[in-house]
Subunit: 165 residues, 2 copies
């Protein structure tokens, strides 16, 4: 069984794949007469290609059996895709530069207060949660054109993820 | 003391002010080989005016003393502004069509799984939470131009909100 190591999710480690949506280390600005603070510009949302517009969605997901068999990767050539968790629970992010090259895979453990925004064309696995009924808000693209490419792995290429608690 | 009644937040009641971001009653679509479902198109994000772009932010807010004194309303003439809670806790939404006309105010109790997206130019109160340290993800506009108008109320115009638990 070919296993993938799971790293902590940090901006530096994820920089080639998109944005980490996370207030950690960012500058909090006082607003609303002192009753709130905000952190700006956490992700580059880029969905305008070929007449696209922003699509605000809600997802609910369930956990896959472990070890998680990675049989398919996908990418969105026309727009970014942002996931942010609505519960404070860790989840997994799996990306690669070439689905056929196992050395190119990187797996990350996101904290419950971390989202990610996949850059256009970045190969990633569909949402990976560690418990059922987890919810996310998603900011991606609606519009004309084909914005989904899937690559299914041969049986001999299948990789596995073993989340540790 | 001039009080404002608080209504449940529904799409119909909020239609003149923007979108309710809520999966309730929407169509869940099976995706990700059955491991997730999504609901699409929950808000019209409109931030392109005068060269604007999408700004993804995180907010943290604290509760105001009750009864909540409403002394100021604001609006964003160049872009929509979406708030979605990151905890499953109710919060308040206050809007009006004319800050000087107390009859035009509407207050809503949003459930912890409900966000709102204020339409461009809609008068609203800054974020109103019922407990400290509540967090929201916000989708609004970055870019040139003046996108904030505030209207401060005279002492005799101040209204009050009394949230009921």
């Amino acid at each position: 069984m070919r296993m993938i190591d799971i790293e902590p999710l940090t901006r530096a480690a994820f920089a080639d794949f998109g944005d980490v949506v996370d207030a950690e280390g960012a500058e909090w600005i006082d607003i609303n007469q002192g009753f709130a603070q905000r952190v700006n510009d956490l992700a580059l949302v880029d969905v305008a290609e070929e007449g696209g517009s922003v699509n605000i969605s809600l997802f609910t997901a369930r956990a896959r059996p472990q070890p998680i068999a990675i049989t398919m990767m996908e990418q969105h050539p026309l727009g970014t895709q942002l996931f942010f968790p609505l519960q404070n629970a860790p989840w997994l992010v799996l990306v690669c530069t070439d689905p056929a090259d196992r050395q190119s895979y990187r797996a990350f453990r996101a904290a419950g207060r971390q989202g990610v925004n996949y850059a256009k064309g970045v190969w990633h696995h569909p949402l990976l949660v560690l418990a059922d009924h987890e919810r996310f808000i998603v900011v991606d693209r609606a519009g004309p054109g084909c914005n989904l490419q899937e690559m299914w792995l041969d049986a001999g290429q299948v990789l596995h993820l073993v989340p540790r608690s």
